[in-house]
Amino acid sequence: MHTTRIPAKKIWAIGGGKGGTGKSFLSASLAIEMGARLGNVILIDADFGGPNLHTVLAVKDGERDLASFFKNDIPALEDILLPTPYPGLKLIKGGESAIFAANLHHAKKLKLIRQLKALPASGIILDLGPGSAFNTLDFFILGQPGILVVTPEPTAVENTYYFLRSCAARILRLYAQFYKVAHLAHELSGELEKGSLSLRDCLERLNEREENMGPIFLAALRSFRPALIVNKARSEKDFLLGPSMADVVRRYFLIELQFLATIPYDERVHWSLRKFTPFVYAHPQSGVSCAIKKVAERLTLPEAQGGEQRVSGLTT
């Protein structure tokens, strides 16, 4: 039997808990940059509550979208790829039908993940919607790295920490199921999600009750290496937010958060969206575009796959 070898690809998931932080804008902009760099990138609109990347990229409406895939009208993910006006970039449009109002069934989610990993592409960008539903968390954890987008506002920062806590709880549950201590993880991850228990305390309790499990779960958290972009920065203090948050996450969530970039606020972003023009094309020398290009450069470095870039937290 002839086997086609699929080259290793990079998968990035962009999420973060709160709506309005600019995830779709950054997903589209990064996808355009990555498409130009890698030559074969697929952007997937996995915002199951409100897909709109086709609008951002000015891709004409088509019938082929994720809803068709989930309804088995179109069995292969490859068959719902849509061309875009941008070199090296294709789009999988999010579904707008009622199915996306409800949680995605586990089997359908696995089908999507399986086929996503088999897509012939150099890079895949998943634009996730807001919120911390299990499906959103699972797709975010799939990313290498999953990229959080936060704005310098208390609500956005708070939601980001909640999202990270939820990711950590999800990872602990999965490991607990594997090591057959699911009852314990279920109890403690519930406390974690409510915020009444810190991750550090959670791991200590796990270690007390199940000897030798603490280091295993700590290793599980260490293997989770999300990244962070601060968007819409308006002041000098906003530019310090990213490294500071990385330090907080390292200290209190026991997770290595890679700080990627701070994107300055630019009024022209609003107008470029209104005109359906990619900002990175309209204003290539702007602070926003330069920052996005730097992120694309970092993400496509060979060592970036494993997320080895150390976070520059509170050190000079």
Partner: protein, 206 residues
């Protein structure tokens, strides 16, 4: 977690680095800090702020730091590595040799007083962030001095007594009130007095 880990400092951190890390840590973890909003409980925050203060008081005092290092360094893995490399002193000396100054560098050193050079180094030392923008980490501002003052439980009155400034002036400087606070060189002088009252080494350049 020792004080070096707490402030994310290397073992050979300079006094300026210690000071900058201290202010940065307070800016990250004080009660109204955005970066740590929703991440830790009040109890955790209070404990951490106490530790940050203790870390600064210890690491900024040469004799206290020396005594502290005796307790802590033997347990640090990089300390062991450093001792090993010390054996190959010849290569180490070559690598550690300071860069030769250019002609302009020598002229600059001659013309500009050393104290100003140091202040400038502290003031403009910052980072080029991932977007390529220079982020000046200027912590010698009234708002950060206020964090330190409040963390130590000091009142404006006490700072006023220590500096000879009025409480109103201190409030204006802390709040960055441009209508009532002085600007330019006068502001720099006030900030320097305030910094000295807080036991900080650096300060804004004129």
């Amino acid at each position: 977690m020792d004080f070096y880990d707490l402030l994310n400092l290397p073992l050979d951190a300079s006094p300026e680095e210690v000071e900058r890390a201290y202010v940065r840590a307070l800016a990250t973890y004080h009660g109204e800090a955005l970066a740590s909003y929703g991440a830790l409980s009040k109890e955790e925050r209070d404990i951490l702020l106490e530790r940050i203060e203790a870390a600064f008081q210890t690491l900024s005092d040469p004799s206290r730091r020396k005594a502290y290092d005796v307790q802590v360094l033997p347990f640090r893995p990089e300390h062991g590595m450093k001792a090993y490399f010390r054996k190959s002193t010849a290569k180490l000396e070559i690598e550690d040799a300071s860069e030769k100054k250019s002609v302009w560098g020598k002229i600059k050193s001659f013309l500009l007083p050393k104290s100003q050079n140091n202040a400038q180094k502290i003031r403009v030392a910052g980072r080029v962030d991932e977007s390529g923008q220079n982020v000046a980490e200027d912590y010698y501002k009234g708002e950060y001095f206020k964090l330190i003052r409040e963390n130590r439980g000091l009142s404006r009155k006490e700072i006023a007594q220590a500096t000879g400034l009025s409480e109103d002036m201190i409030r204006a400087v802390e709040e960055g009130n441009t209508s009532s606070a002085p600007q330019g060189k006068e502001l720099s002088s006030i900030l320097r007095l305030y910094a000295q009252a807080l036991g900080l080494r650096g300060g804004p350049r004129h």
